[in-house]
Symmetry: C2
Subunit: 636 residues, 2 copies
Amino acid sequence: MGFEYLTNVPLEQAREDYIALLQQNGFAGQTETIPVQEAYGRMTAKAVYAKINAPHYAASAMDGVALRARDSFGATETTPITLRPEQFVVVDTGDPIPENCDAVIMVEDIVKNDDGSITIHAAAAPWQHIRQIGEDVCAGEMVLPGFMEVTPAAIGAMIAGGVLTLEVIRRPVVGIIPTGDEIIPPCADPKPGDILEFNSSIFSAMLQDWGACPKTYPIVPDKFEQIREMVEKAADECDMVILNAGSSAGREDFSTAVIREIGQVLYHGIAIKPGKPAILGCRGAKPILGVPGYPVSGILVIEEFLRPLVDRWLGRESEAESSTRAVLTRPVVSGLKYREYVRVRMGYVGDKLMAAPLPRGSGVVSSFMKADGMLEVPQGTEGYQSGEEVRVRLLNPKRRLKNTLVVIGSHDPLLDELADLIHTDDHSLFVSSAHVGSMGGIMAVRRGEAHAAGIHLLDTETGEYNRSYIKKYFPHGGVYLVRCVGRQQGLMLRKGNPLHIDRFADIAKDGVRYVNRQKGSGTRILMDYLCQRDGVDPAAVYGYDREEITHNSVAVQIASGSADAGMGIYSAAKLYDLDFLPVCVEEYDLLIPDTAWGSPMVRQLIATLKSAAFAARITAMGGYTLDRPGEIIDVL
Amino acid sequence: MGFEYLTNVPLEQAREDYIALLQQNGFAGQTETIPVQEAYGRMTAKAVYAKINAPHYAASAMDGVALRARDSFGATETTPITLRPEQFVVVDTGDPIPENCDAVIMVEDIVKNDDGSITIHAAAAPWQHIRQIGEDVCAGEMVLPGFMEVTPAAIGAMIAGGVLTLEVIRRPVVGIIPTGDEIIPPCADPKPGDILEFNSSIFSAMLQDWGACPKTYPIVPDKFEQIREMVEKAADECDMVILNAGSSAGREDFSTAVIREIGQVLYHGIAIKPGKPAILGCRGAKPILGVPGYPVSGILVIEEFLRPLVDRWLGRESEAESSTRAVLTRPVVSGLKYREYVRVRMGYVGDKLMAAPLPRGSGVVSSFMKADGMLEVPQGTEGYQSGEEVRVRLLNPKRRLKNTLVVIGSHDPLLDELADLIHTDDHSLFVSSAHVGSMGGIMAVRRGEAHAAGIHLLDTETGEYNRSYIKKYFPHGGVYLVRCVGRQQGLMLRKGNPLHIDRFADIAKDGVRYVNRQKGSGTRILMDYLCQRDGVDPAAVYGYDREEITHNSVAVQIASGSADAGMGIYSAAKLYDLDFLPVCVEEYDLLIPDTAWGSPMVRQLIATLKSAAFAARITAMGGYTLDRPGEIIDVL
């Protein structure tokens, strides 16, 4: 306790100093000699010279006969020349040109006579239809300079030139050491407190992508001696070492001490978020990188510090970052002290490229998976406003973003099923959905930030769904309301209903822990309506302010015992095997702006809504009714 | 003999029909279940759902103490509350929240007392600083839809969700069968008539790049039965088969017959060049592709016909072709009957992106290696003119083209050494050189198509090199002439000089076979000057019209015995161990336009010319003199 990070070094300075230190210590790529057939994608360590000519003999370039050109001189259409069998040799394409021959006449241009002679009607120019020696590659010539990536054609050219092995940059071996008493190998039944060790799997995949060889060591408990031994072993066996976890300020963190004991620590603490507890250390020329335990922090730290080292080792230019300008859909607030990395989902709505910030928790690895881009808020900047144009580093190609259906609004698991059906049917189309509640969906469509929004908004005056909201928020039209599903809302309750919650008002009973949905969600509006209707004081509901943003996450809190009741749909209760107190069937529809209506993504969405495959999936989930899904609802 | 291709089907039609036939026969990707850790880059076969929540327990998000939020209600700066040891539990980040606790207070916000109690100065909101169960992934939720490529973060999210194995699309196994009596495995000492089998190595690398598994079979001789057996075996063991060579019209071609016997042939003969003898065949749902023996043809045929099948199998969108407009530096003439593929070297000179056609021989695999782009001349088009703007498919990224020094002019092997030194020193810079002779270099610089040109042009009036040409072709200046090397020109002769060529005029002796350089090259100009000076009649020189475009390729013809003499530089004679009759030392300089002068590539070029590394290489090659290389020559 009371531990403080030693430094808060800006990213660029930290990286430059780190590389400079390592280079001063002798950091450099090493080479190995491998068979040329295995060299695809590898980097040449030095210039490669051909050993033989290709072709290595003068070869016929045609099917025909080889001869001495001189013997054909004078032959014309009117003065043909006949050649005796000893004056020519029949050759196929690729055959060597016989001694003393220096031309080929094509089979089409000769007349065969019964006595074995041939007649020709045109003279052959010396060396016609002959592939000269060295036409492709000359012995002794440079086939490839050093530090060039070996392409398929280069493999062919090298073999043609008699090069059977070549010196390439060895792929650096990067040791990954997971540490922590609480860390266990991946499994499907972890106990409370266990943390599944998946960082090494993520890092391994990243390292493979960069052309390095990952080597993962067994998990080491939080014991100084054991960590030191493992780091030494890895530093002996590998070219670079990642020491995972133990770089933050918890009571069991030995990383800095270990690295300091066997080598040196350049910086502990970088001005980035997430990732600030990173440790830049080394033993001689071997980098030892202390990486925070949270996966998102870890990914960012090895991306920013290890990738440039791998590139340098391999003698490769660092890949150009592809970035673009995009419009933020929500404000991003950031601290002045750090450069902050915010993952964003992206999509084109009309000509506008939208960037929607994803959850920023550094433990939320799924947000990295869903990210199309990365927004960097520079150190010294407080953030950006909603609607502001920002520069975003692209993680997915623009073409994909142009084919992405952007769904922003109320959450329902059926959106995932729609996404799967749409993409499976047409692999070029993608669906990106963000859960901001029904009202959020309406606003997103109004601002031109979504192709579709799931909404289920009860008009408490009329008992009708959605229509009156459309009339209010789109008084001049410009949107379609499309039937999706009817769905059963109710109270999700712990299995067996131990607290005897038999009617809505029971959520205010003493001892009942409620879990709510976020403001602006249709389900929250329903909840508040029910409170009002049944005279329940929100202040009396323990957990009224505890918000989750999906039906599933509400259900999960109840299933795991940290809450007793929450409002949600039947399919979520069924998925988590909860009791369910039905409240009403609501209309969950899709709001689609005119401007998106004709797009391939929306056409595919409508077709999918009408499909038997969608009906089958929805039916299996339970709690839904289908009444002509995909049809346009008359709003007036 | 007399065989005719059955068809001349346009590419698109052939491909569509082929895919349709295969799909009708049941062609489709197959799946396999693999550990999630090995799934990087693979394609999900169906939607993946989480099995457990992540986190799977409520965890402290901070180092601090866990407590019941209620116990803290009322605490303020002025009315602190003290908690007894049994009212709180010390927790580290990641620790499970103890039973009955529902909030965490950060270590920074508590005061520890000597009796073990703590004092707090603010109330805790329920669930503050607690990572809720399922914050990252909820059990039962879709983690990834089907047909999505597995990213590093997705691996993490799947493991976090308890997914330990998953169903992915199996990589298709593609059998490669090399055939031909003359084909031998790669070696460094082939005999005349032997053809090195490197196509399978090229194809293997391409297939790896596309995500398929290549499987190369042993070379099969030109025997119908043996080929049939091998194709049947491969069709049994693989998902797709490439039958290499034997698809053209030579006398030993059994491919069509074999494929017809064990399956069917859809088309034999496609309207593309190179590649027209391709065979589109199958056995049921398994494609069997007959591929021409020349490597360039083979590459194009499997790119156009096999790659779309691999993409379809994998359930992947075909990659968008990146194309651009570029200016042709030389005319391209093409037949009306075929779509022709012309490989081009590319580079930016100023803002102009130039495309220089490379040798079109389908045996010249090195041209594929050197290509930056592919120009397709559509069927029905006769070609393009020099200076015409054409659309080119990019094989290298534009960024690389922007950093490529374009050298067009006279050939000298030292250009390869310069390229290697420049790129090794700065991996972001590339050099592309084309050999069009000194006059070609001058013209290229005049047209703004080159950053530099190697020239060695003798003014036969004055005996001076280069200056007078610069004055003539650049009367208004606008170019720099930069010292490069002095180099020894002479007659390269067969080892031991068996024909006793003792002076220049001896090249016209009876029985001497000369090999010449192309028109416009400085060496050709020198040759013609010497003929005139010494009264040699070119018509009397056997082989005067036999042209090669580099010093090395002239030397190779002499070394291999197909010529007796040729003009060239000492370093080439030395490389091929030839006799050498010196004629003169000439000035080989570099011509650089004003407009390119300040560019990073040219700056690096000048620095390299002045370097010790360059001097060392040049000295090792022999026959060069160095006199202040890199200095600007005063032309006036």
